[in-house]
Subunit: 109 residues, 2 copies
DNA sequence: CTTTTCTATCGTAATATTGCAATATTGAAT
DNA sequence: ATTCAATATTGCAATATTACGATAGAAAAG
């Protein structure tokens, strides 16, 4: 055991969980915020910006990319990573929807 | 190694990461959605609702509570768990803010 | 008081994540 | 072609997560 039983949940639930999981690390939050701040981006900048070794950051970038939170284009021997607005939009929509539902019903606790 | 280096990141970054991480599992997303759907809630219902054993669900509930996503009150030999709107609000605010920033600048990729 | 019923905790096995040193790869510059 | 500069991959150790059987605890029902 130890592996998540994704097959028992809906696609939507897994999709939100995947995005959330990818954002569930402060380094990856910091990377996202940096990408947003500088707009365009080369990975080397991030290495200088964060207190983590280059391989570690590379790995975090890979995870963000796998989750669909960032998109990258090869550009010479560096890479231009950007936030994928669609993923952010999904998250925003999700929490807006939940927020709305919570406001309609008043909670019991 | 293997432990997250939270001390190198800001409190805000860690806070969002903690909330995201807690939501980074489909079972916990399913639990949240169920709590929202039924409004008031007893844990036993969730056990019947989800394809996971009772100790597993109890553990997931504990994690959601630790992250501040749900709040629980003891009620006899059952427990009333509810979504904590404040946590959802934080997430909504965060993604709204990011979304806004992304719309202002046009991405490079 | 005993039983029933529900949730929490413990213990443990399987798996995943985190972080980095070492190394590989890749494109640009000389 | 060789070197340089940047990112990616590999391999590994430390730690965390996931899942659940067994068990404990606590209140309600009998």
């Amino acid at each position: 055991m130890g592996a998540t039983k994704t097959e028992h949940f809906t696609d939507k639930q897994n999709a939100i969980a995947t995005l959330s999981k990818a954002l569930g690390h402060p380094a990856r939050i910091a990377i996202m915020e940096y990408l947003i701040k500088v707009e365009a981006c080369i990975c080397g900048d991030i290495v200088n910006e964060l207190p983590l070794a280059q391989p570690t950051i590379s790995q975090h970038l890979k995870e963000l990319k796998n989750a669909g939170l960032i998109k990258g284009t090869i550009e010479g021997n560096s890479i231009c990573y950007c936030v994928d607005e669609r993923a952010i939009q999904k998250m925003q929509d999700y929490f807006s929807k939940i927020s709305l539902k919570l406001n309609q019903k008043n909670n019991c606790c």
